[in-house]
């Protein structure tokens, strides 16, 4: 886990985090921003190349030159957010990782919840409803706190960031309290 987070930082040069990637993918602004950034980059690069070529060869000014170099990423220090398409790729990768694991371990498909979750919330519609409502809490909570288990818990705590330590303490604490409560009221793991 830590290897992934560290490698990610070295290669992608951004702090590792999942809820941020989810937020970016869901944000229309991020997608539009990326498109605009791309088109501006391409245009600017093309113009710059053309100008440079004209300067270098003043006699042959009428040619149009195709360039096959990729537009360089604007290096403005360490950008906070990963772009839209790379966020999406990251999330797809997460899903694929799970798929590879299930293939390796010959896991079976599950269409309904089992085990303790089914025991607490039922394995039919109520189970799905619990997941949906819980998911809404997760989505709202992580975007409010500005991070999730990976961003705050793994990376933030490792870097001893005050905000991350408090966030991790509060979500771990609440989760433990709720789990103990469920366990106490409905008879779960003890």
């Amino acid at each position: 886990m830590s290897g992934t987070a560290l490698g990610y930082l070295l290669v992608v040069r951004r702090p590792f985090g999942i809820s941020g990637a989810v937020g970016t993918v869901l944000s229309r602004e991020a997608r539009v921003d990326e498109k605009q950034a791309e088109s501006i980059d391409d245009k600017a690069l093309e113009e710059a190349m053309l100008a440079a070529t004209r300067a270098a060869f003043p006699d042959e000014t009428s040619g149009s030159f195709a360039c096959d170099t990729a537009p360089a990423e604007p290096d403005s220090g360490l950008a906070q957010q990963l772009g839209w398409s790379r966020s999406l790729a990251f999330l797809v990768g997460l899903t694929l990782g799970g798929a590879v694991f299930s293939i390796v371990t010959h896991a079976t498909m599950e269409t309904v919840t089992t085990g303790f979750h089914a025991h607490f919330f039922g394995d039919g519609v109520t189970g799905y409803l619990a997941l949906l409502v819980g998911g809404i809490f997760v989505g709202a909570g992580t975007s409010m706190a500005g991070g999730c288990t990976s961003g705050h818990g793994l990376v933030g705590c490792a870097r001893l960031q005050p905000g991350s330590l408090v966030a991790t303490a509060s979500f771990f604490g609440t989760a433990i309290a709720v789990s103990l409560l469920l366990s106490f009221l409905l008879g779960g793991a003890r």
């Binding site: 798929a99 819980g134 992580t142 509060s170």
Partner: protein, 128 residues
């Protein structure tokens, strides 16, 4: 995408995608995953310390949303057994019910983005 896949695989391997395992961790019945998490934080801490001169990262300060957000997330986490990353890995693993969690996460994130833009305007910072 490679890192996503690696992380998804590791999450499944440790057992974070299994609600039973997760529930046992939070009720202190089985501390294995808890220790795995602490262990990886510790290893990461050493790594980040070693790399601190290579990459400057923004400081994560405590802000108005830190605790309420953490509490909201904690409730959802205990109920679904999933943080956003785990939900994706669960789906990939063939646990199709994770779609319900993901739908919830999407709704929650979008709803909060709207609420935040309209009513609350503090700087949340964010993990990439």
């Amino acid at each position: 995408m490679g890192f996503g896949a690696l992380f998804g695989f590791v999450l499944c391997g440790v057992g974070f995608t299994d609600y039973d395992e997760f529930h046992k961790m939070l009720t202190f019945v089985d501390l294995r995953m808890f220790l795995a998490f602490c262990g990886s934080v510790a290893i990461s801490a050493v790594g980040y310390r070693a790399m601190r001169n290579i990459r400057r990262l923004p400081t994560r300060w405590i802000h108005k949303g830190t605790i309420p957000g953490g509490v909201l997330f904690g409730v959802g986490w205990a109920v679904t057994g999933a943080c956003p990353g785990v939900a994706f890995a669960q789906l990939g693993e063939g646990k199709l019910w994770a779609l319900a969690t993901l739908a919830g996460v999407a709704v929650g994130t979008l709803a909060y983005q709207l609420v935040h833009a309209r009513f609350l305007r503090f700087d949340r910072g964010s993990c990439g």
